[in-house]
Point group: C2
Chain length 131, copies 2
Amino acid sequence: MHQHTTSPPSLSLRIDLAMNARIGPGKIQLLEAIAACGSISAAGRAIDMSYKRAWDLVDEINHICGCKAVARRIGGKNGGGTVLTPFGTSLVARYRKIECIAARAVRQDLLELQSDIGPVRKPRAGKSTSF
Amino acid sequence: MHQHTTSPPSLSLRIDLAMNARIGPGKIQLLEAIAACGSISAAGRAIDMSYKRAWDLVDEINHICGCKAVARRIGGKNGGGTVLTPFGTSLVARYRKIECIAARAVRQDLLELQSDIGPVRKPRAGKSTSF
């Protein structure tokens, strides 16, 4: 019966660039998976995301930033693939830097929050929200 | 044609207390609305959230924290209502403090991100994700 857990709390950051234009951990994880896997479809599979959703998210990132984060690479051993552009690479690095700075800044307060709450119970089945 | 915006980026924080046990801006906004409105149903209406969803979120907060954030207040002029418990009040205050510390810590990097990206375009209709 592992209903309680005492691992330390962590932060997930969403950056609200403008009304409804957001960069969060999901989009960044997808870009990192594209860099690692060399294709959008393989990246989707690697992070358990549908092909359509992965393409839609890439399209959304490119659109809101007004600059492509992902580009086709023509040719090569496997007939091309997908890579991050310098802008995409920089976007990922900057997000991870911001995440790291924020996590360090609030570390003590997260520990105090954990101490306030005590052992955390997992949500009941089907009742988890990231809201 | 207001397709671009140049307002500074902001952060939304989600605190991951444990696997699938999360406190984010939506739950905190709901608790603040309950404190302001004195009932869960009025709070739901105030932040455009269904009665069922508001109750489900309150139930989820109480469950994962193992401590009630919200309590019934019996009697009074309008026949009772709902208030935040001291734990609920402290949870909201601590979240807002963490949000404030994180925002201050990453302010310069958010401005640099904005400078990298340039004017942000709003997502196409129906294409916004907070992912």
